[in-house]
């Protein structure tokens, strides 16, 4: 019995953000995250100090999942980024950094949180409306007629994770593989109730990245000696093998007998009875010309032996995760009965083969359709392999989201700088009716808009980690990075070739300013001439849905944190 203890009163902290401890720890977190951002981000090693698993990463999912923070305000921030990542996989760092920047910049303005909240909410709606509008300058439509945009999307995700340790060639190779696997999962049929298939990632350590490959169907890893015993297999015809899929255990145990008592008289063996039933089932399988029996759970050795004797291959213990892909690719209905079932439950396979890949042996089940495939991913060591696996999962999710909404945003910092450019332009001649609605003065509006834009720009600035300078052009507001080693006597703009997203190339008439310095804002929609567009090169593209959502989540989380007036902690 537990002891009844009186509850301790909670700890109540007022005005949390005004405390130095908190703003300090917030800036530490923000520095950590900023240094990880982008293709040239620095890697972080997560370890527990007592010999636990070591993880080298720069991804938000691994980083924020592994970090434990003590302070409540940081917990809010991290919780909100992690829930975003669980829904969209991508743009976690963007949301976290933007949120930190916004908090820091808004706090400097010394305006009341609710004024800041109202105005920045309005600015956010300007951004989202612009992103959703047709004339948005940082958005491109994804054309499914060609693989270029999709390839760019996958490649951007991979290159932004430097801990995968991929060369440019390897990154291109993996993104092509990813795209291939993704396209295989898109079903050929049309109509309602159509869903995407599945690509299953099979990680193999210690191989070269370029050894990675896509296989149609399912790969089941198996030791060599077991694999040899499985064959031969009985075929229905040259290219069809009948398959039965079981979701219940065929181990010969007595099924659930209910809540009451079961009295077994001496001399009667219930196990014997069940085993007899199993053998009967086996006979049925043989009679129905089943070539392969796959079971989620365990198959009784006697049944295995019996079936093997009749050239029926038995694969057991495939696990619950493999059931859905198996059902999907063969059309088999998982059988949950020990008694003869109708033949409509059986599925069909095209072939079953042994595959030796690197150091591992697999049994490959090859289906007639292609909605299920296996992506074998190779990398040199465990850490990089894990990072690559996470990156590939993210990229796959990004492709799926793009299929739902065929749009992409320009990556490489261009979307951020362009949005800031647009907001600066809009903020200049904000109508007084809007100011009235927001019940704020023009100056207040401009201060908040400036902080908002600077926060966006400094997210873009985080892409540069090597003391380089960032320029922006004055009619599109794109992001142009200048390497740090520049000659003294030349101007910075001599060193730029193309913008961050590679959509534009340097043109002689372009004017430049350093990002974040004030210039006369112009309407970004005015100059829609495509003369400087670079269409041959591969663009850097980000997922539209993920980035839009993370922008909103960051601003909303920032409102939330700025608005906190108390923290109450129940320390019981």
């Amino acid at each position: 019995m537990s002891r009844v203890e009186p509850k301790k009163p909670s700890i109540c902290t007022s005005g949390p953000l005004k405390r130095e401890v908190i703003s300090q720890s917030l800036s530490v977190l923000s520095e950590i995250l900023k240094s990880c951002y982008g293709p040239s981000g620095r890697l972080k090693q997560l370890h527990n100090g007592i010999g636990g698993n070591v993880c080298t990463t720069s991804q938000s999912s691994a980083l924020l999942g592994g970090c434990t923070v003590s302070h409540p305000v940081l917990k809010v921030l991290i919780a909100s980024v992690r829930t975003h990542v669980s829904c969209f996989s991508d743009c976690g760092l963007f949301a976290a950094i933007l949120c930190c920047n916004l908090i820091e910049n808004f706090q400097r303005t010394a305006l009341t949180p609710h004024t800041v909240g109202k105005i920045s909410k309005h600015l956010l709606s300007l951004c989202t409306d612009y992103l959703k509008s047709e004339e948005c300058g940082c958005r491109v439509a994804v054309d499914f007629g060609s693989s270029k945009a999709l390839l760019s999307l996958a490649c951007t995700v991979l290159t932004s994770k430097p801990a995968c340790m991929l060369t440019v060639k390897e990154a291109n190779y993996i993104s092509a593989l990813l795209l291939k696997a993704f396209l295989l999962t898109v079903p050929n049929e049309m109509g309602t109730n159509i869903s995407l298939g599945k690509s299953i990632i099979v990680p193999i350590e210690g191989q070269r990245v370029t050894d990675s490959a896509v296989f149609p169907g399912l790969l089941i890893e198996m030791p060599v000696f077991e694999l040899r015993k499985l064959f031969p297999v009985k075929r229905w015809s040259a290219s069809t093998i009948q398959m039965a899929l079981f979701s219940i255990s065929l181990s010969g145990e007595l099924p659930d007998t209910g809540k009451g008592m079961v009295v077994v008289q001496s001399g009667v063996s219930p196990e014997r009875a069940v085993l007899d039933q199993l053998i009967l089932l086996g006979q049925q399988m043989v009679k129905d010309q089943i070539g392969i029996l796959v079971c989620q759970k365990v198959v009784h050795p006697s049944l295995k032996q019996y079936l093997k004797g009749h050239c029926v291959m038995v694969v057991d213990r495939v696990g619950a995760a493999a059931m859905e892909p198996l059902r999907r690719m063969t059309g088999a209905e998982p059988i949950a009965s020990l008694h003869p079932v109708s033949s409509t439950c059986y599925g069909v396979l095209k072939d079953v083969v042994c595959v030796k890949y690197a150091s591992k042996q697999f049994l490959q089940l090859i289906p007639n359709n292609t909605t299920v495939c296996s992506l074998v991913l190779c990398n040199r060591n465990e850490t990089t392999l894990n990072e690559l696996k996470r990156a590939c999962q993210t990229a796959e999710h990004v492709l799926q989201l793009t299929l739902k909404q065929p749009l992409a945003l320009l990556g490489g910092g261009c979307t951020e700088t362009h949005l800031a450019f647009y907001i600066r332009f809009k903020a200049i001649d904000v109508s007084s009716s809007i100011l009235e609605e927001l019940s704020c003065s023009r100056t207040e509006y401009q201060i908040v808009a400036d902080s908002f834009c600077r926060s966006l720009e400094s997210v873009a600035r985080c892409l540069e980690h090597d003391d380089g300078e960032i320029l922006t052009d004055t009619n599109k507001g794109h992001f142009w990075s200048v390497p740090s080693v520049t000659a003294v006597d030349s101007s910075l703009s001599d060193f730029v070739l193309h913008c961050g997203c590679r959509l534009y190339q340097k043109q002689p008439h372009m004017k430049w300013t350093i990002l974040g310095t004030l210039c006369n804002p112009v309407d970004p929609q005015d100059h829609c001439g495509n003369n400087s567009r670079n269409l041959s090169d591969q663009l850097v593209l980000d997922c539209f849905a993920a980035k839009c959502s993370s922008l909103q989540v960051a601003v909303e989380t920032c409102h939330l944190i700025l608005d906190l007036s108390y923290i109450i902690e129940d320390k019981n």
Partner: protein
């Protein structure tokens, strides 16, 4: 708990209340901040809700706990107003302390502490007596007769029929959400709530029933989706069950739904029985029979066109398998709340206790028809989405509330739920309570609904209700309002036990026990009501509603302290006209206390929006009788405000009647009346 006795003075009460006020006042009003609350489990909650804030503090002081409890009870009625409750309570206690200090003045410092305390408690005792009469005798009449001239309504009558005005509703909801979730997303959420209200409305004139349904079933009518921006919140037709399909078979058109509460697969032996295995063959045969039985029952369901099987328990694999074979979708492990929701809105009922019973009936009963049944992806989880036809009062819809983080979505959920509590209070049909004979029924039902007074037995309340027969004689319009009075009754009855009781035969009720103060108050009341009658004849022509005893349905006032300033004005006038000194003191006290709320609202404002400006503006309008040109910034429900004042009055009465705190080693025994601590 203190281990010894401790005298309790107004001062102590005030100190405790002010410490609470300190906490809530920062989160008060549209510009108040949020509170981040970490539970002992590490779970995070973000809130501006006074109730949650006060409860999460886990206070030690018994008086503080009592205040929190009173405020929580008020919350359960109106879904809001806890912060205002605390501020108003503080302000009243301050007024009370001023009164007590004034009495002290001539003997300052000359008398020992205990004598002083005794004198104080005497004053307080008298005060609490008059306070408990105050509501029925002064407050309710003032609100119903004087204030009602200024009421706006969410209803408008276009062609004779009362119709809801969409703008007024929107405005009321906006103000509500502004207080509950801050002024960044309040417009969006208010629109969502209004949409939800109209979409759920099955037919005109069923709004109050429909709002009650939503209030009661809200737990199952919403889905939280953390990780998405707030703007993604939306309304879905039908209901979402928070489970994924156990077996899903896509189908077109309408389909029958059947609810089962037991496993569909027979087992060898049920509880408290024995199954004797005599031979292996017997076991095999019974196994075969069991499988056949499940197949038969599924076939039977298929013959009855059942396409969706809902189950409150887990169904074994074999059932899912057989269901898939015949094209029936199965959803198992549905929570009991969702089952009761489905039963309530669709007429679905678990008619069959066992499978064999189901097999026996040729035509299955207790089924419902779903218009669609499909999976829906909300955030990163898959749920079941079921559509149903509308019933007479409720058209099934549900709301998906998104937010960046889990704690915030919870705040939205509770605010959304609270909004429907508020609407329920707002749209509650006015009480007709001239039937005293039915009072006990009304009393008990209202008690069930709100649990406002635990300690007070029903028979006692009946007695108190019967204490006011004179009111009917004078003017039926002011018979005590049972619903809103039930708080005060407890205190009145407490007092009854101490004050000498005299029997009255004038009353038709045989239980007509009253005390002197009641009589006194009634005379006051007679004067008042006579004046009111006079006013009503000459005045701005407030319509006489002979049997109306509460605020009319759908009454609203402009936001920003209008209710408080108006009530202050009328109570002040009332206290000047009142010849009975005690009642006049109480009126003045309450009137002044009320002003604390607008003062708090306009605390940070300057210039035209500062409190004195607003106050003068409203009062000038009143004097010049052009009361309708107040700027329509937003509206709030009068009945909630009225209820709030009543709750605070009741709480003050309860607080001041305590004169000592006694620490005991064990908690007081459970079966004793809660109110008996007054007599300790």
């Amino acid at each position: 708990m203190p281990s010894s006795a401790m005298l309790l003075s107004v001062n102590t009460l005030l100190q405790v209340a002010e410490s609470l006020e300190n906490v809530v006042s920062r989160c008060f009003g549209p510009e108040g901040g949020q509170v981040l609350f970490f539970k002992a489990t590490g779970e995070m909650l973000i809130t501006r809700d006074g109730k949650t804030i006060l409860e999460s503090l886990l206070l030690d002081h018994p008086i503080a706990r009592m205040i929190v409890r009173c405020a929580t009870m008020h919350y359960s009625l109106t879904g809001d107003g806890v912060k205002t409750f605390v501020i108003l309570l503080c302000s009243m206690l301050r007024g009370l302390q001023a009164i007590v200090d004034k009495h002290d003045h001539p003997f300052c410092g000359n008398i020992p502490e205990t004598t002083k305390h005794r004198r104080h408690s005497h004053i307080l005792k008298k005060f609490s007596s008059s306070l408990s009469m105050f509501q029925a005798c002064v407050l309710d009449p003032v609100v119903i007769h004087d204030l009602s001239k200024h009421f706006l309504s969410v209803y408008f009558s276009s062609t004779g029929a009362m119709q809801l005005c969409k703008d007024a509703m929107q405005s009321t909801l906006e103000i509500y959400f502004c207080g509950r979730i801050g002024n960044i997303n309040h417009k969006f959420i208010a629109e969502l709530a209004l949409d939800f209200f109209y979409q759920c409305l099955a037919c005109e004139n069923s709004e109050s029933e429909m709002v009650s349904v939503i209030d009661e079933l809200f737990f199952t009518l919403h889905t939280e989706v953390p990780g998405l921006p707030v703007g993604n919140s939306r309304i879905l037709t039908g209901v979402v069950l928070h489970r994924d399909f156990a077996a899903y078979c896509p189908a077109e058109g309408e389909r029958k739904v059947l609810l089962v509460t037991e496993s569909m697969h027979p087992v060898l032996s049920i509880s408290s029985s024995e199954f004797v295995v005599k031979s292996e063959v017997q076991l095999q045969v019974s196994q075969v029979w069991m499988t056949k039985q499940t197949e038969t029952i599924m076939k039977h369901l298929q013959d009855n066109q059942v396409k969706v099987l809902l189950s409150s328990v887990k169904q074994p694999d074999i059932v899912l398998f057989c269901a898939k074979q015949v094209g029936i979708s199965v959803i198992d492990c549905i929570s009991s709340e969702e089952i009761s929701l489905l039963c309530r809105i669709t007429g679905l009922s678990p008619d069959y206790v066992s499978v064999s019973e189901m097999l026996c009936s040729q035509q299955l009963t207790g089924t419902a028809v779903a218009t669609f049944c499909r999976p829906v992806l909300l955030g990163s989880r898959r749920f079941v989405h079921l559509g149903f036809k509308k019933s007479s009062v409720f058209d099934p819809h549900c709301v998906v509330l998104c937010g960046p983080v889990k704690g915030l979505t919870q705040q939205y959920v509770s605010a959304f739920h609270g909004a429907f509590k508020m609407l329920r209070q707002l749209l509650k049909p006015a009480d007709i309570s001239c039937k005293h004979e039915q009072a006990p029924v009304a009393q008990s039902s209202s008690c069930n609904g709100n649990k406002l007074k635990k300690g007070c037995s029903n028979t006692r309340s009946l007695k108190t209700c019967a204490d006011f027969p004179v009111h009917r004689g004078v003017k039926p319009a002011t018979a005590p309002n049972i619903l809103q009075n039930n708080g005060n009754i407890g205190c009145v009855t407490d007092r009854l036990e101490e004050v000498p009781i005299s029997c009255m035969n004038k009353s038709e009720n045989d239980q007509g026990k009253r005390n002197e103060s009641v009589q006194e108050n009634c005379t006051v009341f007679k004067q008042l009501s006579r004046e009111q009658v006079k006013q009503d004849k000459t005045g701005a022509g407030a319509v006489q509603k002979p049997s109306l005893s509460s605020v009319e349905r759908g009454a609203v006032l402009p936001v920003g302290g209008t209710f408080e300033i108006l009530l202050h004005y009328y109570l002040r006038r009332c206290s000047q006209q009142c010849h009975q000194s005690e009642m006049s003191t109480v009126s003045t006290l309450v009137a002044d206390a009320l002003l604390e709320i607008p003062k708090n609202i306009y605390r940070s404002k300057k210039g035209n929006c500062s409190f004195p400006q607003v106050y003068t503006c409203v009062v000038n309008d009143l004097r010049t009788k052009e009361s309708k040109h107040w700027e329509l910034k937003g509206l709030e429900a009068v009945s909630c405000k009225h209820q709030l004042l009543a709750s605070v009055l009741q709480c003050v009465t309860r607080l001041v009647t305590i004169d000592m705190l006694l620490g005991v080693s064990r908690g007081p025994s459970r079966n004793r009346d809660e109110d008996s601590e007054n007599e300790l």
